[in-house]
Amino acid sequence: MALDVARIKKDFPILDVEVHGGKRLVYLDSASSSQKPRAVLDAMDRYYETTHANIHRGVYSIAEEATRLYEESKTKVARFIGAPSARGVVYTKNVTEAINLIVYSWGRANLREGDAVLLTEMEHHANLVPWLILKEERGIELRFLPMADDFSLDLTDLDRLVDGVKFVSVTAMSNVLGTLTPVRRLAEAAHAAGALIAVDAAQYVPHISTDVVDLDCDFLGFTGHKMLGPTGIGVLWARDELLEEMPAFLGGGEMIRDVRLDGWTPNEIPWKFEAGTPPIAEAVGLSAAIDYLSALDLEAVREHEVSLTAYAMRSLTERYGDDITFYGPSEPSMRGGVLSIGFKGIHPHDISQVLDEEGVCVRAGHHCAKPLMRKLGVSATARASFYVYNDEADVDALADGLESTARLFG
């Protein structure tokens, strides 16, 4: 079933906002952060208005209800990603913290000087800088799967690169190129080499039906605000056995079973990794976001984004020919709905500024992937990204806006 975008747009209050004197808001920056449907906003309001209390503590009814809502959200998250149980679902403040948790807990406990970790050249800084920090601290070796000329992940040297590594950590979809990486194949290679694999699924889980068992990964991280949910909540899913073995990351309340003046014992998983009061209202919002996405059906979401991306590439090429460059795979079914463009050599900041005047929001910059930008040979790109509330009229607004840009700077 195709998405009814006209109806979906009505669910997002922000899309009624007018900017720059009556211009319709054309939001094309969901890869950075998605907008929120009324159902999510209402669920969070309702929570604060009727049942807010701290969880896992009070025995009174609203505290019990808050605890129930929080734990129910984890069950929904687990089901949403095909995880066997909610015991493997740890809430963090975003995917960046989820990856840091892996590095600081698993990494510090298991990696010594000279141990190798395999990443890719396409990583967001979130899945690079924590490893660089561990490299400085421990002297681990970092290896990188390169990007091929067609913007796919180059697996030519996979066997050699994966040989002897202890850990593999890869993005499932590049937030710059839209490239989908072959996660299952990489998991197979990692496991054959005796390594574990973590997947940065920040750009994947919001758009593509995800099954951690099918992907055969050991860790998977994603972030609520890119999937119609609120900011301030991220997810680390890991296999139960791994979480059991891993040392705690942050210390404090919630994550302990017992504390004495001379020591402490950790709580059970997943709470062992959730120090302090967690993002309760955000968990409620994430629940509502998952309900909303599930009702749309992720298969339909994916289909919609592939066809919109195909439309965008086709119409922009028809209109601007060689003046437009796409940094990413040319085949829409091989990529996500993230379109990094170069246009007539005009700086992305200027493109984005002129588009803003037309109400069109795109991201300009290095997208937190500076090593990849260096490889592409540019300091920045302008990036349009699509989600459930975007339609062909939004793409047309982008194409028209580029015309204004060309007039000013061409």
Partner: protein, 162 residues
């Protein structure tokens, strides 16, 4: 609501299309300083040669950036050439004042008065075209990138053992 015409004045677009003093100088004798805008990845390289008379003998700009950072760098280079180091520093202060950036004193008070004085004494000329940038707060960093880099280059060029 500020419009694009406040930002992209004709003179700015002219400096963007025809940047002045683009290129490099041998360093040494010139000071070479790189500036980065971590937000957008823009980078500017300032080559600065201060003569024995304490004046900016030559200046060259390389690097890449948006129209605002490129035109600001171009105008900056044109306006400091031939100036004494002190005059160039006063111009930097005046420019940053125009961008609403006031150096904070340690006691928390701002240097408004000094900046206002600097601004009134210093002839801004074409640089005033960049005033519209203030209405676009995220772009202020683009406009000031080359000026901050120049400040560093002046320090380097006048360091005792440079």
């Amino acid at each position: 609501m500020p419009g694009l015409e406040d930002l992209y004045r004709e003179i700015i677009l002219d400096h963007y299309r025809n940047p002045r003093n683009r290129g490099e100088l041998d360093a040494p004798p010139a000071a070479r300083v790189e500036g980065f805008n971590p937000l957008c990845g823009d980078e500017v390289v300032v080559y600065l040669l201060v003569g024995g008379d304490g004046r900016v003998a030559d200046i060259r700009i390389s690097g890449q950036g948006c129209s605002i950072s490129q035109s600001s760098a171009s105008m900056m280079s044109a306006s400091v050439k031939g100036k004494t180091v002190d005059e160039a520093r006063a111009l930097i202060r005046a420019f940053k004042g125009m961008m609403s950036i006031h150096e904070q004193r340690l006691d928390g008070s701002e240097d408004d008065a000094a900046d206002a004085a600097a601004q009134s004494e210093v002839k801004m000329g074409d640089l005033e075209a960049l005033q519209g940038v203030v209405k676009f707060p995220v772009r202020i960093k683009c406009a000031t990138l080359s000026w901050n880099t120049l400040a560093q280059a002046l320090d380097e060029a006048t360091a005792p053992n440079a």
